[in-house]
Amino acid sequence: MKRFCRDVISFFITLALVICALQLAFSLRTKGKTITGHDNLNLTANKNADLLLFGSSRCWAHFDPAFFDSAYSLKSINIGVEGHSDIVFIKLRLKNYLSKNTAPKFAILSFDPFFYAGDSSDNQNFVKKDIFARYAFLPDKSEVPIVDYFKFTYLERYMPLYAVLKYRIFFSGILLNKRVAYLKTGNGIRGMVWDTLAKPVNLNRRKEFIKSNSVDSVQIALGGLNQLCRDNGIKLICVQTPIYKAFQADSGFQYTRIICERLKIPFIDVNDPEIEADYRNFVDAFHLNRAGVNKMNAILAGDSTLKSFLKH
């Protein structure tokens, strides 16, 4: 019996050591690196910037830091997150950035009708949770709010390898073979043209737009975000970037402007007829491709509101 217990305990200690070693190998391999390009909490540490670009996937896919660097001579960084139009999360991402950098002078929020207030205590938006699973095990203090937001479980936080295996990021973390172009371009702008057969227009998505009964909650949440910017000496401007014309008729597009006016946040709508009417400017109904971004940038380069806002 003693021999059995000794052997079994020795085996499980060896197993635990192997598991810890693999977790350590994963952590060391991915330290300061990105696995997919979307997990950039570490990459954007110690990257002080004059202009912060933040928001949802439209920020990620539409704002090219290189453009703002050249057009406005402002060192820029993009911290947009795919799949997260909830202001609670956007605020968490901003706080995370600010905890690792000095506050920028300016911030551009890609604000559009998809935005909603979110719920910090009971989040139900788990898009890209797998991407953030790399931060779940023994999270740094600065990462804890985001780990909490995604409701990572006790096992995922304290059991080595559990989160990275569960969310299938171990091998891509070790091999680093799934990184998108973020490292080179600092954003997620894509060159492809919208395949309208594969991704047809789905007008049901309008249900997700800001409605009259959600205007107040969005306003309160955006007000909180604005206050955070003010507290850190950041000047905030909201930019509504183009989406495909079929969605433009919705009243949600008016609410974004109204909310910004109420909060006295400068607002620019870049939904230009030339961009929004042509599918060749998009990768899907809600995201521009490189051609669309170039056209949008041409408008932003000459926009008087933005010019005066970004004056040094």
Binding site: M1, T14, L15, V18, L165
Partner: protein, 484 residues
């Protein structure tokens, strides 16, 4: 509480430690403690059905004693049939009532008599088919005076309810298990280590092989209309490995767990997919059920005495009943009948005992003849699995027709290519290991035994990591045989 759950991973070491450390003094402590643990294990599914289990146990225990003490044959018969009728009555109500009543209503409707059958809205108590068969074998053995009635209720209750075999077998016999229960178990290092190895291999079969194959088998069978004949064939092969990995994996965990407590359960699987004919397949697949039907149905019906036609009739009966035992659906009955048809040539030509040794024993590769025989047997059993897996006869027939169409020659289509690749990789690894270790009770009993300990442990750790990795997917499933 599933064998592949965190709950069981906590339950097992606690019960094991308490069993050996606290209850090592007397047999009664060992058995009482195991019985309490087994009832707790069962109540984790649904505590209400614990009363049914206890009632069934009490009934068989009491009728066993009554038969033993009966003064005349008539009284013995009375108690025997009481037990049989009540046991089969419970099984009939919970498992078969809805099947019979709905089929009866349909038949009546065809004759112009219409009525709305009263359908029971009850769930099937987990393990009822297994513990009922435990009890039946005990009662029949006493009636046939093969064994004496057990006088200690705790020992008898543990025989019926021992938690590793309670919910999905193996179907034990009183002649095999009761003597072990009535003997104080002494800790045996090699038996316990062997038990752990068997549990490890069982978990690998269930979590890595069965659950990965299930992703494709379920997708293809649930949408069989949309797939070509070639993809349906691959789906059936995936299901063949799914059900083997699932059920034999469960049996390995059950046998391994029992060994940790010093108890040897009946072998349930013996590399059935390396069989060279269907008769051999059935000597290697769900052995405890096959032998149960042989001993308690086939032989009482006359067995192989009385000529070929009687043998054919009896074989048909046990296969159809065996199919029906699996579930109240025509698909299971046809599955049983198909297997009976497949085995018939060997019964008629008396070749059914030609292959009783291990295939290609002492050789690395089988002969071409053996290989061909294995492929044919696997194909036949896989063909029968189509009926076992289908929702109804119509779907099964549609799948068969689609398979035997031009679309059989199209390239199989899968949406999850990466998952197909990893599943095929694991299947290849699995088949190679099972083939090379087929002389052993389970592969890890042989594999690595001559390696240095460090290498053997490294291999076990690799297996655990593979299991761990695959256990975290959302595709985890219950064991298929729990529904029976």
């Amino acid at each position: 509480m599933l064998f592949n759950s965190i709950g069981f991973a906590i339950f097992l070491p606690i019960v094991w430690a308490l069993y050996w450390i606290l209850n090592n003094k007397k047999l009664i402590y060992q058995n009482s403690f195991l019985l309490i643990a087994s009832y707790y294990f069962y109540s984790c599914w649904d505590w209400r059905f614990l009363f049914l289990l206890i009632f069934s146990t009490l009934l068989d225990f009491y009728t066993g004693l009554k038969m033993e003490n009966a003064q005349n044959n008539r009284t013995r018969k009375f108690w025997f049939w009481t037990s049989i009728i009540v046991n089969l009555g419970f099984l009939g109500i919970f498992k078969y009532y809805n099947f019979f009543i709905s089929n009866f209503a349909e038949a009546a409707s065809n004759l112009g008599i219409h009525f709305h059958p009263i359908v029971l809205q009850v769930i099937l108590p987990v393990g009822i088919s297994f513990y009922t068969f435990h009890g039946l074998s005990y009662v029949i053995d006493i009636y046939n005076k093969k064994i004496h009635a057990e006088k200690n209720f705790i020992d008898y209750a543990l025989f019926v309810s021992f938690f590793p075999l309670l919910v999905a077998g193996p179907i034990e016999r009183a002649t095999h298990l009761l003597p072990q229960i009535k003997t104080k178990r002494v800790f045996d290092y090699s038996k316990a280590i062997d038990g752990l190895r068997q549990i490890l291999w069982g978990l690998f079969k269930k979590i890595v092989i069965a659950d990965k194959c299930a992703v494709f088998a379920n997708e293809i069978f649930n949408n069989s209309d949309s797939y070509s004949g070639s993809t349906l064939v691959v789906g059936a092969i995936f299901f063949a490995f799914q059900i083997y990995g699932d059920f034999s994996g469960y049996s390995d965990i059950a046998l391994g767990t029992a060994r940790l407590f010093g108890i040897e359960l009946l072998k349930n699987f013996s590399y059935p997919y390396f069989s060279r004919d269907i008769a051999e397949f059935w000597r290697r697949w769900h052995i405890s059920l096959s032998t149960w039907f042989r001993d308690y149905l086939y032989i009482p019906l006359g067995g192989s005495r009385g000529g070929t036609w009687l043998k054919i009739r009896n074989t048909f009966i046990i296969f159809v009943v065996s199919g029906f035992w699996h579930g109240a659906n025509w698909t299971f009955i046809v599955w049983g009948a198909l297997n009976a048809i497949f085995i018939m040539p060997s019964i008629i030509f008396k070749t059914h005992r030609d292959n009783i040794t291990i295939v290609a024993e002492g050789r690395i590769l089988p002969t071409l003849k053996d290989f061909f025989a294995i492929v044919v047997t696997f194909s036949l059993s896989t063909f029968a699995w189509i009926f076992f897996r289908s929702e109804n006869i119509h779907q099964a027939m549609q799948i068969v027709m689609d398979i035997f169409s031009k679309s059989l020659f199209k390239m199989p289509h899968f949406s999850k290519i990466a998952l197909v690749k990893s599943t095929l990789f694991y299947l290849f690894f699995f088949v190679i290991i099972e083939w090379t270790q087929r002389i052993h009770l389970f592969p890890l009993q042989g594999l690595g035994m001559k390696w240095p300990r460090a290498l053997r442990w490294a291999f076990y750790i690799l297996l655990i990591l593979i299991i761990y990795y695959n256990s975290l997917s959302d595709d985890n499933r219950q064991f298929i045989y729990f529904q029976f």
